[in-house]
């Protein structure tokens, strides 16, 4: 893994964020390299979602820097991050259920009709439906018909479309916030498959999950957050299920809390 000495695709340096007197993140640093899957784990309230929203441009950090390919950036909106090649899958579906699959894949990046109609603001809907299907297939997701509204899909299918959209558009990094939440075992495995495919395409992946076996299975490196700080950042090979859980909770023994047991099951 010598290539990790190269400039990271995306780097967060000494990020701090507080809400009033509550410190959500303090001095958090993170490096994401090409073809690397990073597991971002921590207990509820550890600051995972805040960190993702800072990385994706939803929130602005109070302190610290964000660097893409070594160049400092500050996101005013998620759109800025998207423009720079950083795609995000949000925990609560980021799809518009009343729009078609194709329209969702192209939302915010519509293809206009050629010529005068396009200048007048008219969309090339057919092109987008066809391309959306191809884009999703490219990342391993087969959809029935991209004209269908997302509201007609099941939860797992929606998640597949949302992940497919993020992977299809990402040029550098994808941030996946709890992508396997609410999914069955088979669908979860498919999501993990999409993550591996993204890695093989040379993307950097940040995978946030409570399901530790998934994290251990698919990541190259694990970053553990506790109370807004990075308490460990090490190759996945250095962890096992027990030590990972211990690092997350801060309890050195093998005390397993109830909800974590459920997550593992």
């Amino acid at each position: 893994m010598a290539h990790f000495d190269e400039t990271p695709l995306y780097e967060a340096r000494n990020i701090g964020k507080s809400y009033g007197s509550v410190i959500a993140l303090s001095d958090v640093s993170l490096k994401i390299h090409a073809g690397e899957v990073i597991g971002l784990v921590g207990d509820n309230g550890a600051g995972k979602s805040t960190l993702v929203k800072i990385l994706s441009g939803v929130y602005q950090p109070d302190k610290g820097q964000l660097l893409v390919d070594g160049v400092e950036h500050s996101w005013k909106s998620p759109h800025d991050a998207m423009e720079a090649g950083v795609e995000t899958l949000y925990q609560d579906s980021g799809l518009a259920p009343d729009l078609s699959i194709g329209s969702n894949v192209f939302l915010g990046r519509e293809r206009m009709r050629p010529g005068i109609l396009g200048k007048l603001g008219f969309l090339d809907q057919k092109f987008m439906e066809v391309e959306a299907r191809k884009d999703l297939e490219k990342v391993g997701i087969t959809i029935p018909a991209s004209k269908r509204n997302v509201s007609q899909l099941s939860g797992g299918q929606r998640q597949a479309v949302a992940i497919g959209r993020a992977v299809a558009w990402a040029r550098k990094v994808i941030l996946l916030d709890e992508p396997t939440n609410h999914l069955g075992a088979r669908q979860s495995n498919e999501v993990l498959g999409v993550i591996k495919a993204a890695k093989e395409r040379g993307l950097g992946v940040v995978f946030i999950s409570h399901t530790l076996p998934h994290v251990l299975q698919v990541t190259d490196r694990i970053v553990v957050l506790r109370l807004g700080r990075v308490v460990k950042d090490a190759p996945t090979s250095e962890f096992n299920a027990e030590s990972l859980l211990g690092t997350i909770t801060g309890l050195s023994g093998s005390r397993v809390e109830e909800d974590e047991t459920e997550a593992i099951a």
Binding site: A96, T142, Q157, A197
Partner: protein, 339 residues
Amino acid sequence: MSTKVAESTTSVGNASPEKVPTLLSRLLGNQQFLLLIAFIVLVAFFTTRNSVFLSNGEFANIFADFASLILLGVAETYVIATGGIDLSVGATSGFAGVVAAFAMRSMHGSEAVVLIVGFLVCIAIGALVGVVNGVLMNYAGLVPFVATLVTLGAAGGMSIVLTGGAPIGNDPNAIATTVSIIGPFSWPVLVVIAITIISGLYLHASRFGKYTFSIGSNEFASRAAGINVKSHLMKVYVLSGVLSGITGMFFYLRLGSGAPTSGAGAELSAIAAVVIGGAQLSGGSARLSGTTLGALILTTVTSGLIIMNVQPNWNQVAVAILIAIAAGFQTLRPSKRKK
């Protein structure tokens, strides 16, 4: 490593994967088709009661009433598609008509120039109310219902204050424009129909329309996709104001004066047309063809009841029944939606 979302193309969205929907069941699930049938049945019914109903003159009346309503319905369709509501459309149309009447009365010029200036004043007043609505929502944080309730009161009140309650102007040139030129259509009615068609194409085929629906469907997802939600909502409410202003000019042409009470309560008919047309009030889903048929049905019923010599007060009851039927159909229809 292929993630199969569905085994076959027919398995998504249909209750039973094996069954391909028949043409009949598809048509019965289509609100526009049912509305078209309802419209034809209503016309047939009123014609059997009184053959005058099918006459050119009566159709001219129906289309003039339709034209008074449809642009407000278009405005409301855009707004409701975003998940909002605009209560100010009726009051804005009356206010725009009044201000334009003052402007036109003070002018000396050829009649065409005077009317064009009136038209532009109406658009400007409508846009202004739309901007106020947008500012109240985006910067004062009011919800659409409250913001537009404020402008309803302000515009409606200002119309009365400015005019003392009496119509402004007496303009035979304006009324002259409302004579039918092609079949039952006068040129202002044709202009209104053209605006309606363009608005429909724009809502359903343009990027602006796509964002209108996406914001109503999932505001967070729209923002995350890079859509400037506040700016888009501002544009939608300005569009709503402009369409209301144009309706104010239409009222002026029909009456030959700017009447402060014209348009009062019209927002309810406009919302009724949208609801009958099958839109979802929570946003994300609406069809302008549905709204158009809804407005046609409302105006047909109103005219039909007059022709049947039913007391005009029953009109509101008839509208209420139509809304109840349309809303009932939406809940009874096999739902295509989840959550």
